[in-house]
């Protein structure tokens, strides 16, 4: 059932609405059942989640008798952003995922954030699906702040995603959707995968299967588990290496995404097209999994080129 959870007038003949598709059991009272919210599109240029929402809604449409709980699908939390390839909240140019929990008395992005929180509040679980931005390509991963690791890592493992990254929280991340919802008691996972402005079909298919598996395991749907092709990786005792560009130029990668690299192996070059010179050669600082690689070639000093997960012993 399509439901509207937020509506506000825009200045010229239009209304901004947030919609969800709610799936409820057909043969039992929904009250008291577990509830999950699938959220995406907070960043308007991250489209990967659209395909996941489609695949989930399609399966739920086709299997109404297997629904035991409530599944809410929110494909576009920043509708104007999604429809205009705009990462932030248009007009205000702010990152919607930095104004949570929002407020009814603050500017429009904060009101939208508040509307999202009020709609999702009460869910047992939430999954916030992001793509990377346009600059980086990411292996599908769940990111969890260390303070929530004990509670959320077991839940993330039920998705069977390629990689679980437990990281040290930055204070500013307290203004994100996931932090707000975890604080309110909704176990919320943040998924990052693919690249901005694109859909990676295989990633979407794997994640939607993983989410269905997870929903099965917590009793929201009744479906046999399907095998997941890849193994989850924890960073609890591992180290993520960041490789930043030492200079400005154009990055030419030497490796594909999602490969095991050896210490000293060449990741790519920073070139100068005007001079026809290689400015820097980037080498892997460790053995490990190349789970992030730069997608957009132009770089400044400091631009992130790659991330490598060291220590494969836990795989």
């Amino acid at each position: 059932m399509i439901e509207e959870v937020f509506r506000v007038n825009l200045p010229v003949e239009e209304q901004l609405t947030l919609k969800r598709n709610r799936f409820s059991p057909i043969d039992r009272d929904a009250a008291g059942q577990k509830r999950i919210s699938i959220v995406t599109g907070i960043h308007g240029d991250e489209i990967e989640g659209q395909y996941v929402c489609f695949l989930l809604a399609k399966w739920l449409n086709e299997n109404p008798d297997k629904i035991h709980g409530i599944i809410d699908i929110y494909p576009a939390m920043n509708p104007m952003g999604v429809d205009s390839i705009t990462r932030g909240f248009p007009f205000y140019d702010v990152d919607l995922n930095r104004v949570f929990p929002g407020s009814t008395t603050d500017f429009l992005p904060a009101q939208v954030a508040n509307g999202i929180v009020q709609a999702v509040k009460g869910s047992d679980y939430a999954i916030d699906i992001h793509a990377s931005n346009i600059f980086l390509k990411e292996l599908p991963q769940v990111r969890i702040s260390r303070s929530n690791a004990d509670e959320l890592v077991p839940l993330a493992k039920k998705i069977g995603i390629d990689f679980i990254w437990v990281h040290d929280a930055v204070t500013v991340l307290e203004s994100t959707f996931s932090h707000t919802m975890n604080t309110l008691g909704t176990k919320t996972l943040v998924v990052e995968m693919g690249v901005g402005m694109r859909i990676t079909k295989a990633y979407g298919q794997n994640l939607s299967e993983g989410i269905l598996n997870m929903m099965s395991q917590v009793g929201i749907i009744n479906r046999p588990l399907t095998p997941q092709g890849k193994t989850s990786i924890s960073t609890l005792n591992s180290q993520v290496h960041f490789i930043n560009s030492p200079s400005a130029g154009v990055f030419i990668p030497s490796l594909e995404h999602n490969v095991i690299v050896s210490k000293g192996e060449k990741l790519g070059e920073i070139i100068n097209p005007l001079l026809g010179e290689v400015k820097d050669v980037l080498l892997s600082p460790c053995d490990g999994l190349l789970f992030t690689i730069r997608e957009y070639p132009v770089v400044y000093e400091g631009s992130l080129i790659a991330r490598i997960l060291e220590d494969r012993k836990e795989i």
């Binding site: 506000v8 007038n9 200045p11 500017f107 930055v170 204070t171 307290e174 400005a248 770089v299 000093e301």
Partner: protein, 314 residues
């Protein structure tokens, strides 16, 4: 005056990003003050103020170097790239440098800019940041002080501006330049004024005068000054937020800084297609318009005005 390139960031096709500083007085003399102009590339008022300060102090130093008792470093802007493209944030990835502090020298480009700026500015007694409001509003000139339990709000009276807005830091503030200055023991103040992307020489002059007054009061420079307002310290409790109940064409009836009375019409909102009057926004209290929405099209529930209540005990 000594003109310095504080640091550079190279670019693929453009001239390097050069962040320049203008130093007055003797290096490392005290008391010392750093003044940082706009971090966002649309703070035209703030760029104007900073550049006028450089020009004024250069003249005064040429006339009589002994007027300078302490050290002053002015950094008119951190972000020439964005100014030159009419963008607010970092041109490559639209990140806001003012959420990157204290910065990270091994991190992303804007983290490195923040780290280098912070390293050059974190050892002054006083640290002033010039800022336009980040939301869509124009405002009266005021001093913003993050209340971390010290006496900065009282000390802000030395600017002589009418209002000092003291508020508790939010999580968002913890990655801002002004907050990080403060936790590194500088007395940190943010001077907010005007409307982003525009130049109001009148209000900018008030901020300019306030900074000169502050530098004199702190005995960093020695110039004759006029005394001015003793300053009203306000908190969010003293501010009435007035939202537009509807969306449409926004016709403000009052300028910022105007005294209004309870019941006074302060704006009208018209239907953007048929021109019918949708709402007359009424002042809910006596007070001063401190902020006003700055765009002729307004969203439903957008904040149209902020009024500092006159009846509140300040």
């Amino acid at each position: 005056m000594k003109e310095e390139i504080l640091f550079e960031i190279a670019s693929l096709s453009r001239e390097p990003l050069r962040v320049k500083g203008f130093r007055f007085g003797q290096k490392d003399s005290t008391p010392s003050c750093v003044i940082v102009g706009p971090i966002a590339g649309n703070g035209i008022n703030q760029l104007w103020i900073a550049s006028r300060l450089v020009n004024f102090l250069r003249q005064k130093e040429l006339e009589n170097p002994s007027l300078f008792k302490g050290e002053i470093l002015i950094i008119p802007t951190v972000n020439p790239y964005s100014f030159n493209m009419s963008k607010a944030f970092w041109p490559m990835d639209n990140t806001d440098i003012d959420v990157m502090f204290p910065g990270y020298e091994q991190g992303e480009t804007t983290q490195r800019i923040a780290a280098r700026l912070f390293e050059k500015t974190n050892n002054f007694d006083y640290a002033l940041l010039l800022e336009a409001r980040k939301d869509h509003s124009e405002c009266i000139p005021y001093v913003k002080v993050l209340d971390t339990g010290d006496d900065s709000a009282e000390e802000a009276r030395d600017f002589g501006l009418d209002f000092i807005h003291s508020r508790k830091p939010t999580t968002h503030d913890t990655v801002s330049l002004s907050y990080n200055w403060k936790i590194w023991n500088a007395k940190s103040f943010t001077l907010v004024s005007g409307k982003k992307g525009s130049l109001d020489k009148g209000d900018s002059r008030k901020v300019f005068d306030a900074i000169i007054r502050f530098l004199c009061k702190k005995e960093i420079i020695n110039l004759p000054i006029f005394e001015c307002s003793k300053g009203n310290i306000i908190t969010n409790e003293n501010i009435e937020v007035i939202k537009s109940g509807t969306a449409g064409l926004f016709d403000s009836l009052v300028p910022v800084g105007e005294h209004v009375i309870h019941g006074q019409p302060i704006a009208r909102v018209y239907h953007s297609l048929d021109g019918s009057l949708l709402q007359t926004i009424i002042a809910p209290c006596d007070g001063i318009i401190s902020c006003r929405y700055d765009y002729p099209l307004i969203f439903q529930n957008a904040i149209a005005f902020r009024i500092i209540r006159l009846e509140s005990k300040i």
